[in-house]
C-alpha cells in the first residue's frame, strides 16, 4: 500500500502523542513497520492509520484515498481492514470460535454456518482447532493472540494493522505468532505493524518509520534505514535494543 501522512497530530491532555508526523511512502509496499521507544507514539499512529481514532489535525491517505473523518464512513473503512492489539482484546464472554465468527455474521452479514465454517478453516490453518470451544480465559497468551489474529483476518482484510502483536508474550509464544504473521505476509497480506522485534522488522518490512516523542525522526526503505541509520536517536535506539 502507499501511505501519505501530512502534518498529523494527536494530543491526549498535555501529551502530544503524535506530533506533526509527515511521511510519503508512494510505492506499493507490502509491509510497513513502525519502530521506536515505548511511549513514542506507535500505537497512537497505528490507531489513526486504522481509523480507530481521529486526528486533531493533519491527514492520512492510504492507497490514494483519504482515511475518512465521518463516523459511518470510518466504520466502513475499518470493516475492510483488520486490527490486532498488543493485549489480545478478545471478547471474554464468547468462545474462541464465536470471537472469530461474530464479526463475520454481525458486521459482514454472513450466514451463521458460513461464518462457523470459515472460523474452523482459519483455526485449522492457525493450529487452533482443539481450542475453538474454549473461552479466552482458558487459553494461554499465545493462543489468545492467535485467535485474535484469526478474528482480524477472517474476512480477508485489505490491510492488517498489528500493534506490537508479540510484546505481551513469552519468547516461545512470540515465535508462534511471528511465524503466523510471516505466513500471512508470504500469502500476500498487506500489513502495517508496530513492533519491538527488530529482527522481524528488518527482515520482513519494506518500509520503516522510526517514531520517538511522537515525531518521525527517520523513515524510508527498511534495508537502508537499518543498515545505515542517519539520526543519532535511531543509532542509539538500535544499539540499545540489539544489545541483548
Amino acid at each position: 500500500m502507499s501511505i501519505e501522512i501530512s502534518q498529523l497530530s494527536k494530543r491526549y491532555g498535555a501529551t502530544l502523542a503524535v506530533d506533526s508526523v509527515s511521511v510519503n511512502f508512494y510505492e506499493d509496499d507490502q509491509v510497513v513497520a513502525l519502530i521506536g521507544p515505548s511511549g513514542g507514539g506507535k500505537s497512537t499512529l497505528l490507531r489513526l492509520l486504522g481509523g480507530l481514532e481521529s486526528p486533531d489535525s493533519g491527514k492520512v491517505i492510504l492507497d490514494g484515498s483519504a482515511v475518512p473523518a465521518e463516523e459511518e464512513a470510518l466504520r466502513q473503512f475499518r470493516m475492510g481492514n483488520g486490527f490486532l492489539f498488543q493485549s489480545f482484546n478478545l471478547f471474554p464472554h464468547l468462545s474462541a470460535i464465536e470471537n472469530i465468527s461474530l464479526p463475520l455474521v454481525k458486521v459482514h452479514g454472513w450466514a451463521e454456518n458460513d461464518a462457523t465454517d470459515r472460523a474452523k478453516e482459519i483455526a485449522d490453518r492457525f493450529g487452533l482447532v482443539e481450542h475453538l470451544e474454549k473461552s479466552p480465559g482458558q487459553l494461554s497468551g499465545g493462543q489468545q493472540q492467535r485467535i485474535a489474529l484469526a478474528r482480524a483476518v477472517a474476512h480477508k482484510p485489505g490491510l492488517l494493522f498489528l500493534d506490537e502483536p508479540t510484546s505481551a508474550l513469552d519468547p516461545e509464544m512470540k515465535a508462534e505468532v511471528l511465524d503466523l504473521i510471516e505466513e500471512l505476509r508470504l500469502s500476500g497480506q498487506r500489513i502495517v505493524l508496530s513492533t519491538h522485534e527488530m529482527g522481524f522488522a528488518k527482515r520482513s518490512s519494506d518500509k520503516v518509520l522510526f517514531l520517538s516523542g511522537g515525531r518521525n525522526l527517520e523513515s524510508g526503505q527498511s534495508a537502508a534505514v537499518f543498515e545505515n541509520p542517519q539520526s543519532k536517536e535511531l543509532r542509539d535506539f538500535l544499539a540499545k535494543v540489539m544489545k541483548w
Binding site: 466504520r75 475499518r78 486490527f83 492489539f85 482484546n89 478478545l90 464479526p103 454481525k106 458486521v107
Partner: protein
C-alpha cells in the same frame, strides 16, 4: 490491641445473641391467640410477594430507561436521569411513599393502594438498580469498545453483543441483593394501608396483644423470601469471581 478488640466484639455479640434467644425462647407462647389470624398473615405474605414481584419487574424497566438516559450522548436525558436518581437516593422511602400517595396519586385521582405502592417502590428501587447497571456497563473495559470498533460493529451492536452481556454477569449479584432490599422495603407500604405482611402482623398484634406470636412468624416469613435470594446472590458472586 487487635486481639482485644476481636475478643470484645465476640463477647458483645455472643451476649446479645444469648439475650435474644433467652427472650424469644423464654416467652410463654399462646399460639391459640392468633389462631383465627393465620389466614390474614398468609394473605399479607402473599401481598408482599405480589408487590415485590410486580415492583421487581417494573423497577428493571425503570432502571433500563434511567441507565440509557445516564449513558446517553445527549445532555438532556443525562441530566434528567441524574436528577431523578439523586432525588430518589437522597430522600427517605417513607417520604416518597407519603408524597407519592397523598400528593401525586391523589392529584391524578388514582386510589389503588396496591398499584400506587408498586409504582412508588419501583421508582425507588429502579434508581438504585440504575446505579448498579451503570456501574456494570462502565466496568466493561474500554479495550472492549476499541476491539468492537476495530471489527466494525456499530455502537448499538457493541452494546447488544459485547457490553450488555458482560455487564449483566457483573450486575447480577448486586441486582439480586437489591431485590432482597425491595422485599424488605415493601414493609413501609403499611403507612398507606397496603395490606402487606407487616401491616397484617401489626393488626394481629393490636387485636390480640400477642406481639411475639404475631411478629415472630412475620420475621420468619420475610427470611423465607430474602434468604434464598441472598444465597443466590452469593452464588452468582462466586461464579463471577471464578470466571475472571
Amino acid at each position: 490491641m487487635k486481639k482485644f478488640v476481636s475478643l470484645f466484639v465476640s463477647v458483645v455479640l455472643s451476649v446479645t445473641f444469648c439475650f435474644i434467644v433467652w427472650v424469644v425462647l423464654g416467652h410463654d407462647y399462646q399460639w391459640e391467640l392468633i389462631q383465627p389470624y393465620w389466614g390474614n398473615l398468609f394473605s399479607g405474605w402473599l401481598t408482599t410477594l405480589g408487590v415485590s414481584v410486580a415492583a421487581l419487574l417494573l423497577s428493571v424497566v425503570i432502571a433500563f430507561v434511567l441507565t440509557a438516559g445516564q449513558l446517553s450522548d445527549y445532555r438532556v436525558p443525562r441530566f434528567l436521569s441524574r436528577i431523578y436518581v439523586e432525588f430518589i437516593r437522597g430522600t427517605p422511602l417513607l417520604a416518597q411513599i407519603l408524597i407519592g400517595y397523598y400528593m401525586i396519586a391523589d392529584f391524578i385521582g388514582w386510589d389503588s393502594r396496591f398499584g400506587v405502592g408498586v409504582v412508588i417502590l419501583s421508582g425507588f428501587s429502579g434508581a438504585y438498580l440504575a446505579e448498579i447497571f451503570r456501574g456494570g456497563v462502565e466496568s466493561v473495559s474500554s479495550s472492549q469498545w476499541l476491539s468492537a470498533r476495530a471489527i466494525g460493529l456499530t455502537e448499538g451492536q457493541t452494546y447488544r453483543h459485547i457490553i450488555v452481556p458482560q455487564a449483566v454477569r457483573r450486575v447480577l449479584p448486586a441486582s439480586a441483593g437489591q431485590f432482597a432490599n425491595l422485599i424488605k422495603d415493601s414493609s413501609l407500604l403499611f403507612v398507606i394501608s397496603v395490606h402487606e405482611f407487616t401491616m397484617q402482623a401489626r393488626e394481629v398484634n393490636s387485636n390480640t396483644y400477642a406481639a411475639f406470636e404475631a411478629y415472630i412468624p412475620m420475621i420468619l416469613g420475610y427470611l423465607l423470601l430474602t434468604f434464598p435470594i441472598s444465597m443466590l446472590s452469593r452464588f452468582l458472586e462466586k461464579r463471577y469471581h471464578y470466571e475472571h
